[in-house]
Symmetry: C2
Subunit: 334 residues, 2 copies
DNA sequence: CTGAAAGCGCTAACAC
DNA sequence: GTGTTAGCGCTTTCAG
């Protein structure tokens, strides 16, 4: 009863109140044997009474396992959030809790956030990490790691990705099939393999259809709405603007639609737009897009990670990408 | 070069490599003054070379501030995720990073997860906490805390909530205006004030319209899809089933629609359904619902928390709730 | 069966 | 200017 007023109750408070040593309390809590039943019961009583919970921080400094899986993202945007949902439901009923960390919210420099986050948490706060869209090659770390939408292709560390090339081709072919000939591309984050693959798919589709590739029709959106605003604007203000746009992700596509409207263009009548990802917002925007099974990708990452924690080697999983036609695409007018 | 192979690089590795003491490295990293420029430069060089990042865990054990805001949720479901998005964008450009923790993923017992999470992280891993739908009254803690959709009403600790009563009334009145007379209610998590308010709003609307309240038409969904399955089933298998359902949240509403379909009922022709929250999935489900400004609520929680961190007292914010009519509601047939 | 002591990585007095 | 020391809350040998 003599503990400092508004502070956490620590293992020492419990020890004092139960009249035993700190070490004994630790043993009781962790179910180590070699403790008298009476002592154990008394300590447990005090724990309940005081509402003691061991500090994750202190515990993790001393111990190897924390039973916490880390999900490292740059920021909490829809793509990462959907993955997180998949991770969360896959981990339901296991021993693991989830800790999601957005490491580049504060830092101005986006590049390298994952290395920073990993170092900061990897001490041993987390047993394993799922890293979403890392900007750089991951360092060989002590902590088990799987990357979703990796920086490089499926090599080295475990990865989960999508058939980005095929998806992008399908998206572009859809526009071509509708009769579009001047098709622009809002590129993704070029440091990511996914963005390069999507651009590649776009170019392959053009080439297969015998359409010329016009560098002026490719602009950078970096997967972000803010970056896509000037990109889309530049496209629409071209002397000979495109009749269709394939954006590297939904956020860019939705922004392109917004920009088109401010230019007095109607979608899909004056401009067709296709995205990539199929985040929940794509449905509200009535956006034709390429669906990535985000939920399943999160779950797959969990499965691989748990296997790695169990001793298996890294694994690479590629998910199918499938086009979902909604109302943002139509044949070009006359 | 003689450090243990696959381990994190620690402050001691840096100190050794730079030929200085651990304390000096710490001072350099934290920009304390009283260090020779030459020493500082040398240490910084080693830090860069070795790729050293201070351990968040170790730092937080010794320090007061970590510049990390914790968002504590039971699990990562759509409601919490939307809030998280609001929190994330509100924190963009500040000094704070975000750590979201789902504390009842592993633990079977859902009740009290927030106290557990808070104790575990509150050591000082986080400077402040935003707790989403706490199940119990929050303990007076050392760490600044704001609750979103609190257990009790706006009292005690800082809170952000919605006009649940008004929203529920509006939802029920919408059904009544369409001519429904037998309107059921799938109740939310009764330990939350929001669920009680929504039921209250439902009953008030019935009463104001002179409709009888039938206890058989109120079932428990606990805000979860799994729990809502039997609840909705019971409703539809009643001798005299309802023609409309007001569900306490969108997850329950969407599940009710699914169950209705498996019973061969068409929505909205045979059964009208209204939800609450307006999560992104509500749009895909074409669900009439009551919109909570989730994004803004997350941002509001951030604002209050930052003010509290700056020394202000707790605050209570109530957001408006607004009905959004989509395709899941229509006048009853015949 | 229980306790004393060491130490995880780091920071904050306080010496030198 | 820089190093030494103590200690955050906890777990883990190792003595008693």
């Amino acid at each position: 009863m003599t503990r400092r007023p508004s502070s956490r109750v620590t293992i020492r408070d419990v020890a004092r109140a139960a009249g035993v040593s700190v070490a004994t309390v630790s043993k009781v809590i962790n179910g180590r044997d070699g403790i008298a039943d009476a002592t154990s019961a008394r300590v447990l009583g005090v724990v309940a009474e005081l509402g003691y919970e061991s500090s994750l921080i202190a515990t993790s400094m001393r111990r190897r396992r924390t039973n916490v899986i880390g999900v490292l993202v740059a920021e909490f945007e829809p793509f990462a959030l959907q993955l997180l949902r998949g991770v969360s439901s896959a981990l339901q009923g296991t021993d693991y809790d989830i800790l999601a960390y957005a490491g580049s919210v504060s830092a101005g420099d986006h590049s390298g956030w994952e290395r920073r986050s990993l170092s900061r948490l990897g001490g041993t706060l987390i047993d394993g990490a799922i890293i979403v869209t890392p900007t750089v090659a991951l360092p060989e770390t002590s902590v088990a790691t799987v990357a979703i939408d990796p920086h490089a292709g499926p090599a080295g560390p475990a990865t989960v990705d999508t058939d980005n090339l095929g998806g992008a081709r399908a998206a572009t072919e859809h526009l071509i099939a509708q009769g579009h000939r001047r098709i622009a591309h809002i590129r993704g984050r070029v440091d990511l393999e996914s963005a390069r693959q999507r651009e590649q798919g776009y170019r392959q589709a053009l080439e297969a259809a015998g359409l010329p590739f016009d560098p002026a029709l490719v602009v950078d959106g970096a997967y972000r709405a803010a970056t896509s605003t000037p990109a889309a604007t530049a496209l629409l203000e071209l002397p000979e603007p495109p009749t269709a746009v394939f954006a590297a992700n939904d956020l860019s596509a939705i922004e392109a639609i917004r920009v088109a409207r401010t230019h007095g263009l109607r979608v899909p009548d004056d401009l067709s737009v296709v995205g990539f990802d199929d985040i929940p917002e794509a449905v509200s925007a009535d956006l034709t897009t390429v669906r990535q099974p985000l939920h399943e990708m999160g779950a797959a990452a969990v499965r691989i990670l748990l296997e790695m924690l169990g001793g298996s080697g890294p694994e690479h999983i590629r998910m199918p990408a499938e086009i979902v036609v909604r109302g943002s695409t139509a044949p070009p007018r006359g």
